[in-house]
Every structure is written in C-alpha cells, then in structure tokens.
C-alpha cells in the first residue's frame, strides 16, 4: 500500500521530465528543418538570379541542369553556404562551452580576444607578409590567424592555472586582450601600405566568399571530431554549471575537464576565424538563444547551439546578398547587426533569468 502511494506521488517528477525532453526534441527537429530551409534559401540567392524551383531542381538532379547553373549552385554557392552552416556550428558550440567552463555568460571567442588575436595575426600576413608558420603557402593568412588565436587561448588557460585565479579575472583578461590586439592591429594598419589596409579591413569584417571546399572540409572535420567528445562528456560538462565545488564533489576532475575543453574550444574558434575572418556574436548569441529554448542539459544544449548558430549564419548569409542590391556585404557586419538586437529582445522579453 505504501509502495503504491509512493509510486503515485513520485510519478509526477519523472513524467514532467519526460514531457520536457519530448518538447526539447521537437525544438531540435524544428531547428534542423529551419537550417535546411535556410540553406536552400541561401543557395537560391546571389548576384545571378535564379528561381527557387530551378535551384532546388539543380540540387536534386544535378545531371539534368544546365552547365552554368550547375557551376554556380554547386561550385560557387555551395561551398560558401555550407561553410556558413559549419562555421555557425563551430562558433556556437565553442561559445557554449566557453560559457560553461568559465561559468560566465559573456564568454565567447569574440569577447575573450580569440577573434581579435586572429585578426592581428592575419593583418601581420596581409600587411608585411610575416608568416608565423613557415611554408604555409596559400594559407599564410589563415595560418597566422590560427597561430595567434591558439596562443591567445593558451594564454587565457595559463592565467586560469594561476593560484587564486577567479573566473572574473579571466574574463577581464579577455577584455584586456581584445583591446591589446585592437591596438596592435591599429599600429599594423598605420604602417601598412594602403592596399594592405583595405585587405585587412575586409578580412576583419569576415566573409564567406573566402570559402573553398578544402577549407570547408577542415572546418567540418574539427566540428565532427569535437562534438562527439563533448557529447560523451555531457553529464560532466552540465555539472560544471552547478559550480566548481559541487562538480568536484561529484568526483569530476574539474581542472582537467576545463583544460581539455578549452583546447577543443580553441580549435573550434580559431579554425573558422582563420578561414572566414571575424564573425561576431554567433558564439555569444547562439548558445544563449539555445539555452532559452532547451535549458542547460548539454544533451540538448550542444545540438541546439550548433543548429542555432548555423541558422543565424545562413539567414545572415541570405541578408548579405539581398540587403544592398548588386552588392554582397561582409557577413561579419550582418551577424553583428542582427545578432545584437535579437539578443536584447530575448533578454528583455523573457521574464526568467537566462543565466
């Protein structure tokens, strides 16, 4: 009798949780559909105007489409559209995990100086031809950006190892790094030739037009390798959000988990920035929007962040092509321009704390 009574009493929690899970799966499903639709939309827009139906037919039956159409859709638009999706995923996953391990809502590749470091590295190559990795060849700009971005992440990690290092201190260090790199960038621009300055400015705005199949493959590989690692550790990573003491009391090796996560996050942030330039706000806004929709459980937060990042990038990519007739805006401008108001709207609208 007691057992029956307890069973009836305790059913509520389990049922409510399962209902919540179902709702989250639906959110993920909607996001997947959204990304697919946005991707097709991205492929259908561009300087050469083709109808949506023609583009879809070229996608479905490439052999039957005419040659010019096939080249434009498959060789020109496809790499940059897919790059948008993958970069959005990488930046949003990276941002989500930075927020998790630093336990700070403001953490992202953009706010911690990793993007600014990448810009400075790229500027060194564009202005003076300085190669931080010898024999980088065609990839000298990307290689420089990558090296400085990784060095920045490593510096942040070193600071976090210091005894008594608080998370606030790390975030402040990140802000200091942003200003330092911006100053270094300004000095570089001051001494650079006029043409190089134009190239640097364009690079720092971020653009998907730099995408190629090999760059896409590398970025996708990084996402494909890191995401399963994070998902494998989802229970530990989620527990970090309960605070360091609580996570440690569960037997989680907090420091090692932080270090390993930071290394993977550095890759996730540095690679996209190296290939397509600075793209702001995806790493900050993507995870926050995802968190509002599915909560902090990493089983849902990670895929939701990735899909939200991809969706914002695809939609932004469409906007870059239709906002100003006859011109393609750098996508970094658009993500910042739409990311910020969306973020503000969501914060102000939701009555509930988001962090």
């Amino acid at each position: 009798m007691t057992d029956l009574h307890t069973e009836a009493l305790t059913l509520a929690g389990r049922d409510a949780y399962q209902a919540l899970s179902v709702r989250r799966w639906i959110v993920l499903l909607v996001l997947v559909v959204g990304v697919c639709v946005a991707l097709v939309g991205d492929l259908s827009t561009g300087p050469a105007s083709y109808g949506l139906r023609d583009v879809v037919r070229t996608l479905a039956l490439p052999a039957e489409a005419d040659a010019q159409m096939r080249v434009i859709v498959w060789s020109i638009r496809m790499p940059s559209a897919l790059m948008g999706v993958v970069v959005g995923m990488a930046l949003a996953i990276g941002g989500a995990q930075m927020q998790t391990i630093l336990n700070n809502p403001l953490a992202s590749p953009f706010t911690l100086g990793i993007s600014a470091g990448a810009s400075f590295g790229a500027a060194l190559a564009l202005a003076f031809g300085v190669a931080l990795i010898p024999m980088a060849g065609d990839y000298i700009v990307a290689a420089n950006a990558f090296v400085v971005a990784m060095a920045t992440a490593f510096l942040i990690h070193l600071a976090s190892l210091r005894r008594g290092a608080s998370i606030q201190m790390i975030v402040l260090l990140g802000i200091a790094l942003v200003f330092s790199f911006n100053t270094a960038l300004a000095i570089t621009q001051y001494f650079a030739a006029e043409q190089a300055v134009a190239a640097i400015v364009f690079w720092t705005m971020g653009s998907l037009t730099k995408a190629t199949w090999p760059k896409l493959a590398i970025t996708a590989l990084v996402v494909a390798v890191t995401l399963p690692v994070f998902l494998r550790r989802r229970w530990q990573l989620t527990a970090l959000r309960l605070g360091e003491a609580r996570a440690a009391s569960f037997g989680i090796p907090v420091r090692r988990l932080r270090l390993e996560t930071l290394i993977l996050v550095s890759l996730l942030s540095a690679i996209p920035v190296a290939f397509v330039g600075t793209i702001g706000f995806i790493g900050l806004v993507g995870p926050h929007i995802a968190r509002m929709m599915v909560g902090e459980d990493q089983r849902f937060l990670l895929p939701a962040s990735a899909l939200t990042g991809a969706l914002i990038m695809s939609l932004s990519s469409i906007l870059t092509k239709i906002a100003v007739p006859g011109a393609v805006l750098p996508i970094g401008i658009v993500t910042s321009a739409i990311g910020l108001p969306v973020f503000l709207y969501l914060i102000l609208r939701s009555g509930r704390d988001i962090w």
């Binding site: 509520a12 929690g13 902090e296």
Partner: protein
C-alpha cells in the same frame, strides 16, 4: 557494516597547514557523527580530504564497502548555483556521474525516489536558480541520496534552513543513519542540533581533532571554552532532556 576511520590525515594550502594529524576513531554505519568546531577549524577541509577531493598526507580507511568509487557522497557548503536546470535535472545530473552515460529508466526512478524521500516531489519541475537557499540545500541532499551512497558527508546542510526545516532535515538525516544504515558525518554550527541528533561528536580546533566521543562526554564546559571560546554548560531542562546553555563569550 561500513567502518570509516582516518590515520594522521593532513592538508595544507600553500604554506598554511589547515589540517594536522587528524586520527578519527572508527565510525560505523548507522551512526550520525557531528563534526563541530569554530570557524576555520578545518571542518570543510576534513570533509574534502575524506571525499578524496583534496590531496594530503595520512590515510582514510573505509572497510566493507560495496563499491569504493561510489561509497561516499559529499555535499559541499553551497555556493549559489544559477544554472537553468530543473530540480529533477540537477538531481539526475548527480546520479549520472556514477551510473554510466546512457540515460536509463532506473535513473529516472532513482531521482523520483530521492526527491520523495526528502518530501520535495512537488519541486521537481522548478528551476534551480529560482529556489530559496534552503530549498537548494535540500536539492544538494537529494543529489547525495540519489547516488545511493553508504557514507554521507554533509557540510553544514542546515545553515540556510529555518528552525522547522532544520529539525525536519536533521530528523531525516538521523533516519538515514538509524533506519537505512548509512554512516553520516555532518558538520554543524548549531551545537544544540549536535546535542539532539548526533550519536558521536568530533570537535575540531585549529586543524586538529580536539576531542571525540558521545555528545555528553564531549560537550563539556572545558572543551567549549578551549575551542569555541564560550562559557557554556549542558544541563537538563524541566523535562529532563539535556540542553546547551550559553552564558557568555570568553
């Protein structure tokens, strides 16, 4: 029957020795052992050493446990967590650290049972960051219970609770020991609670074990004066039950 004892346990932060040669006599399952002492006596450090979170000299012996990795559940003093997790999720999270990475039905059942044991089933869908301090402490307790430990280490679990809930929580803690056979070590600030609920009392002072024994043996005016710097005595009330009477600070 689980037996926990320590031999010359120590810990240091930098150059500061915060725990020195603490040798706890054997504590058995079914007992509530209160760990008391003034601020900075080393109570939390002792718990962290026992939970193997902090390295240091000396050894902690644990005999007759089912599974050494999950025998001990430790509830630290609560820093406020602000995660967007429901109570159910955060308790599930504690469970999943020890039960394999795939989510099983038995995990969900265990969470419901832990919440029911603390009479907090109706809080299951509440968001953690919207709970009161006392409710969060109960969540912490549920996070320990859901791991089905044999030894519970509770670091001041009642500090944010009102009088009624303190007594309720202590009664539950005692029932976990006396009825379910757990060994409970509990750091307490309120000496009255130690007097009322603990089978044994350990007094820590300056990182060392000052005294250990039954509450009646340990809570003497001399001990209280030497460690807490208070003039106090334990005397029977009109109903014949022992109570702590504090006269003044020394």
């Amino acid at each position: 029957m689980v037996v926990l004892s320590t031999h010359r346990l120590g810990a240091r932060f930098g150059s500061r020795q915060v725990l020195r040669d603490v040798t706890l006599p054997p504590c058995h399952s079914g007992e509530v052992v209160a760990v008391i002492g003034p601020n900075a006596a080393g109570k939390s450090t002792l718990f962290r050493r026992l939970a193997a979170i902090l390295p240091g000299p000396g050894e902690c012996r644990l005999e007759d446990v089912r599974d050494a990795d999950r025998a001990i559940a430790y509830m630290p003093q609560d820093p406020t967590a602000s995660a967007v997790l429901t109570v159910f999720e955060s308790v599930l999270l504690a469970r999943k650290q020890v039960s394999g990475w795939r989510l099983e039905r038995s995990d969900l059942m265990a969470v419901d049972q832990a919440l029911a044991a603390l009479d907090m089933g109706d809080l299951a869908s509440e968001i953690l960051s919207e709970l009161s301090g006392g409710q969060r402490q109960l969540v912490g307790l549920a996070q320990c219970l859901v791991r089905e430990p044999q030894v519970l280490l509770l670091d001041e679990p009642t500090s944010a609770l009102d009088m009624h809930r303190q007594l309720e929580a202590m009664r539950q803690v005692r029932s976990l020991a006396h009825d379910d056979g757990m060994l409970v070590l509990i750091a307490l600030h309120h000496l009255d609670l130690a007097l009322k609920f603990a089978d044994k009392v350990a007094i820590l002072h300056d990182g060392t074990l000052h005294d250990f024994g039954t509450a009646a043996d340990v809570l003497t005016p001399e001990n209280l004066a030497a460690t807490f710097r208070i003039r106090a005595r334990v005397e029977p009330c009109s109903q014949g039950k022992p109570h702590l009477i504090v006269d003044d600070a020394i």
